[in-house]
């Protein structure tokens, strides 16, 4: 292990050159890349957190919308049921009314017919009565003398 100056100085010189090169061309780009990546990772994690929050928010918003829609649907269904019931009830009412109307119309017709028949019958009865009375009176009294009385009678009948 003899000391010799050229080797010693050469090694020092080589070291200076290598350190200079490292300082200039190796260290900065590598450290920059590391630091840049650290920042990117940090930002990425923050973004992930944020999007997670947004997702939760969107989920709750979606739930809200679905609930609202469900409520609306229930409302619409209820309304539809009510309307249907109404329509059925209306139909029933109309049916009853129609039935009553037709019934009363039939009744009125029947009555009318009955009245007509009665009137006819009455006319026929009075004619028969008058003719029979005429026959009786023809035999006993002059029909013409009592015509007014008989006419009045026929009218009263």
């Amino acid at each position: 292990m003899d000391i010799n100056l050229p080797t010693l100085g050469g090694q020092t010189l080589a070291m200076i050159v290598f350190v200079w090169f490292c300082m200039k061309y190796i260290w900065p780009p590598i450290l920059n890349a590391i630091e840049e990546r650290q920042q990117q990772i940090e930002e990425g994690l923050a973004a992930a957190d944020k999007s997670q929050e947004k997702l939760v928010e969107a989920q709750s918003r979606a739930d809200e919308i679905v609930n609202e829609a469900r409520q609306q649907a229930t409302g619409i269904l209820d309304q539809a049921h009510a309307r249907a019931n109404e329509i059925v009830a209306d139909g029933k009412d109309a049916g009853v009314k129609e039935r009553e109307r037709q019934l009363s119309a039939a009744k009125a017709e029947i009555e009318q017919e009955a009245n007509k028949a009665r009137e006819e019958l009455r006319g026929q009865v009075s004619a028969i009565a008058i003719s029979s009375a005429e026959k009786i009176l023809n035999r006993e009294i002059d029909g013409k003398a009592h015509d007014d009385i008989l006419g009045k009678l026929a009218q009263e009948l």
Binding site: I3, N4, P29, I30, A33, I34, Q40
Partner: protein
């Protein structure tokens, strides 16, 4: 093994000596450039140490530059991910220890860590492969682990030492630096008769603090050198035991992976600590 070690005697000694000999070039007294006849010459150059050290440094620079150039935020390659792990470990260590602002400390720590790690890692290449390969092409010596060369570890710790001085003076000023060397650990008094004792106290402090200051680069480099040299020596010794070296080698290599990483980390960590001490005022 060729008996070149100059230790003479047994094959074992020459084998070990051969493995511990650097490939050296120097200017002889005759004025010619000579190879491997440079014992004691302070102007010799350890060609193998420098070659492997620079080659491994270039590998580090090339591989990490590759990741840096293609570094992408959203779609990192596997290699980039690995580089980023290393960078994050280093960056974390720097941020834990060094509280000032400096664009130099972190890249310095990364370079030291990876480079020293790669140099240490050469220890795991079986001890004969590269030297035998080199011998086959006519190179007599080849020491492949640069951190087992004390010049290499000193070269790095001297750079760290200069940075320690620079940061101390930059953050505390010249007076602060001198004060740090002379006014601790015993604060001299400048009032009354005690002023007579002040020069002695200052001298005492100066001796103590200079030793402490110089011990930093010395311990930094010798720790790394000592660990790697001892590890290498044990690999060489294991290589001497014949077929039984296989399990032994495996066991020591597994253990050595730990040392390789740990020593690289310690070198980096102590550099950060020294520099943070230099820039903190207390």
């Amino acid at each position: 093994m060729a008996a070149e070690g100059g230790h003479g005697g047994s094959d074992t000694a020459s084998y070990i000596g051969h493995h511990l000999q650097n490939l050296q070039v120097c200017k002889a007294e005759t004025g010619d450039w000579v190879w491997n006849e440079c014992a004691g010459n302070i102007w010799a150059l350890n060609v193998d140490s420098m070659f492997w050290s620079v080659l491994l440094g270039l590998i580090f620079v090339f591989l990490f530059r590759k990741a840096a150039k293609k570094s992408s935020t959203s779609k990192p390659t596997k290699w980039q991910a690995f580089v980023e792990i290393v960078v994050e470990i280093v960056d974390g260590s720097v941020k834990d220890t060094f509280h000032g602002k400096s664009s130099l400390i972190a890249p310095l720590a990364l370079t030291i860590f990876v480079w020293v790690f790669l140099m240490n890692l050469m220890d795991l290449v079986p001890v004969d492969w590269i030297p035998l390969g080199a011998a086959a092409v006519g190179i007599p010596y080849m020491k492949v682990v640069p951190t087992t060369d004390v010049n290499v570890t000193f070269g790095m710790s001297i750079a760290v030492f200069v940075l320690i001085l620079f940061y101390t003076i930059k953050n505390k000023g010249i007076t602060g630096f001198i004060g740090e060397l002379t006014l601790h650990p015993i604060a001299p008094s400048f009032k009354g008769p005690a002023i007579l004792a002040a020069p002695i106290i200052i001298a005492f402090n100066f001796i103590l603090e200079s030793v402490a200051l110089l011990a930093k680069p010395l311990s930094l480099s010798l720790r790394l050198f000592g660990n790697m040299f001892a590890g290498e020596l044990i690999f060489i010794l294991i290589a001497l035991v014949g077929w039984f070296q296989l399990p032994l080698h495996f066991g020591w290599a597994v253990f050595h992976v730990l040392i390789v990483t740990l020593q690289a980390f310690i070198f980096m960590m102590l550099t950060i600590v020294y520099l943070s001490l230099a820039s903190e005022s207390h």
